[in-house]
């Protein structure tokens, strides 16, 4: 019944796994000093299960699961991955943990944690819808906010704005989006039909 600091949580996590099966977790710090844990995509369900079930860690709540496109983020070195971010919280011990999984831009598939935290079902659908990351093993991976036949993932930084949807124009004649290519332009690159 005591809150652990970030370093203690990571130490405990390393101690729980037998040495041979220890996932390649890495501690990182964001540009403004927020600590987070990088987890390899294939190990996320294993790590999540331990984080939830270990009595000392006890992360029963997944507060938020979201993501963002690193394409235009001024990181060093630059990255083209999509970061999937898990914010965990323990109501018993009152401590927090931030996990991240990096999903490659084109073939990004991350195992679903909806079997560990049921609420992830909705969060992952939202990330799939808006960022185009696939979650393997998700029970119902469908768009949740955008229409089913929408093309592209709106929150990706290279998203191409559509000029129309099902024949309904988004722009008046001669009008253009100021700083983004529009689908249908000759200059715009082709975009995959599925997110």
């Amino acid at each position: 019944m005591s809150a652990l600091a970030f370093a203690d949580i990571v130490e405990r996590l390393r101690a729980v796994f037998p040495a041979a099966t220890l996932p390649a977790i890495e501690t990182k710090t964001s540009d403004n000093g927020q600590p987070w844990l990088l987890v390899p995509a294939n190990d996320i369900v294993r790590v999540a299960t331990v984080l939830r079930d270990d009595p000392v860690l006890g992360f029963a709540a997944l507060c938020d699961l979201t993501g963002w496109d690193l394409l235009k983020y001024p990181a060093n070195p630059p990255s083209t991955d999509i970061a999937i971010v898990y914010y965990l919280h323990s109501l018993i011990h009152r401590h927090h943990l931030t996990l991240k999984v990096l999903a490659p831009r084109d073939t990004g598939t991350v195992p679903s944690v909806s079997s560990v935290w049921p609420v992830a079902n909705y969060f992952e659908r939202e990330v799939f819808d808006l960022l185009g990351v696939h979650f393997a093993g998700h029970p119902n991976l469908k768009r949740i906010m955008m229409p089913d036949d929408w093309i592209g993932s709106p929150l990706r930084k290279d998203y191409i704005y559509p000029a129309s949807y099902n024949g309904i124009a988004h722009l008046r004649d001669g009008q253009k989006f100021e700083d983004a290519p529009t689908r249908g332009d000759a200059a715009a690159p082709a975009q995959a039909a599925k997110p």
Binding site: S30, D31, N32, G33, Q34, A60, A61, L62, C63, D64, T66, W68, D69, K72, Y73, P74, V85, Y87, L91, R94, T98, W117, P118, V119, N121, Y122, F123, E126, L130, K142, R143, I144, M145, M146, P147, D148, P154, L155
Partner: protein, 397 residues
């Protein structure tokens, strides 16, 4: 977006019923595809997206302070709390670097608590009033809405708006309180407390209403946590957790927030975590908010001449910091009437956010719909929706 509508997925004698998107009890454009077996719900698939306005995408296109009016539209029933959530998050981002530190004036912090708690009162009034109306009690709804008008009048005098306020700003609040604000607020609260006694006589202690709610859609504490329920829905299941008390932001740490939790209030037929518990927890939170408004008025320092005075001012200077905020990411949680409103903000060091993400209570509560609706009566579906206090713009954003 749309659930699987192929009729072959129906088994046996089932009937498929579309509740919404224009159903009065769904409080907005929420569509539930309900498969019924006789009068019992066999499956319930929520369908979202009718109200999607790409608010998170807009956040990546406008400058830091320009996003505040959009936060109003994330949840218009408690727009003050929605403003506050975003502003607290941006201030936390700025404070993560000593070079861009922001000190919100004490007077502004007190005003924030006053308006946020008043807005919580009006939001909960809509919740309990609408739930009563969904169950056939039209009169209490009118009483609740009449009281909400009192809160709206106070806000209108404060910032000129009745629904979407754009009042709380990064670093403080938009305008100082006028000279009579404290007295008028107290006058409202005094008559409001009397009115709530009448409201409780009308509906809360009504046997028919209690029987409709008691033992319906019971959610265990473990389920509530696992399905990401927050706020009164979580506390209704008996989980003692409130961000205002446990991870205080602003001056909530000084106010000693008391947190009501579900205790099977409906008596013998009641269970911890049923619809009646969620209803009663909201009513008890209204009482607590009344106390917090009064406590914040007591703490209110006299106004200073300069707007950015750290004690009596109402708005810190943030324009310079917001042109060049620190690079990095932050997550801030606040307790809105519908539970945790958490902003994740990523900044690339420019005057436009790199990513703004808002986690809202109504979105996550939809993930438990199918689980709790299975096996209950069709007539109880509106009870359950009402008890979750769903605001659809918050789901679709």
């Amino acid at each position: 977006m749309s659930p699987d509508l192929a009729i072959e997925t129906l088994g046996g004698e089932r009937m498929r019923l579309n509740m919404g998107p224009h159903h009065p009890a769904t409080h907005g454009v929420l569509r539930l595809v309900v498969d019924t077996d006789g009068e019992v719900v066999a499956n319930c698939a929520p369908d979202h997206g009718y109200l999607h306005r790409a608010i998170e995408k807009i956040g990546e296109c406008v400058e830091w302070p320009m996003f505040v009016p959009y936060t109003d539209r994330v949840d218009y029933v408690c727009a003050m709390n929605a403003n506050l959530a975003y502003c607290v998050a941006v201030e936390k981002l700025l404070n993560s670097d000593p070079a861009t530190k922001v000190i919100v004036p004490m007077r502004a912090e007190c005003i924030r608590v006053i308006v946020a708690e008043l807005n919580r009162i009006s939001s909960h009034l809509v919740a309990v009033g609408a739930m009563a109306m969904d169950l056939g009690g039209y009169t209490p709804f009118l009483h609740a809405i009449a009281q909400r008008e009192g809160v709206n009048d106070i806000f209108e005098k404060l910032c000129g708006q009745r629904l979407t306020y754009n009042y709380i700003t990064i670093g403080g609040v938009g305008f100082d309180l006028h000279a009579n604000a404290a007295a008028e607020t107290e006058a409202f609260l005094a008559q409001f407390e009397k009115e709530m006694i009448r409201f409780n006589q009308l509906i809360t202690t009504n046997t028919i209403f209690q029987n409709r709610c008691a033992g319906v859609a019971v959610i265990s504490a473990a389920d509530a946590v696992a399905y990401g329920l927050v706020g009164p829905n979580l506390r209704g299941s008996g989980v003692d957790w409130d961000i205002r008390r446990d991870e205080p932001y602003g001056i909530y740490g000084q106010l000693g927030v008391r947190v009501p939790v579900g205790q099977a209030y409906a008596g013998r037929a009641g269970r911890v975590g049923d619809c009646y518990d969620r209803f009663v927890v909201r009513l008890l939170e209204i009482n607590e908010s009344v106390r917090l408004v009064r406590a914040a008025v007591q703490l209110l320092p006299p106004p200073a001449e300069k707007a950015n005075d750290p004690l009596g001012g109402f708005q810190a200077d943030v324009a310079k910091q917001l042109r060049k905020p620190p690079k990095g990411e932050i997550r801030a949680r606040t307790e809105a009437p519908r539970g945790e409103m958490g902003y994740v903000i990523v900044s690339d060091g420019t005057k436009v956010p790199y990513r703004v993400r808002v986690r809202t209570g109504s979105f996550t509560v939809c993930s438990i719909f199918n689980t709790v609706m299975k096996g209950i009566f069709l007539a109880d579906v509106v009870t359950v929706i009402g008890s979750f206090d769903i605001v659809v713009p918050e789901i679709d954003r």
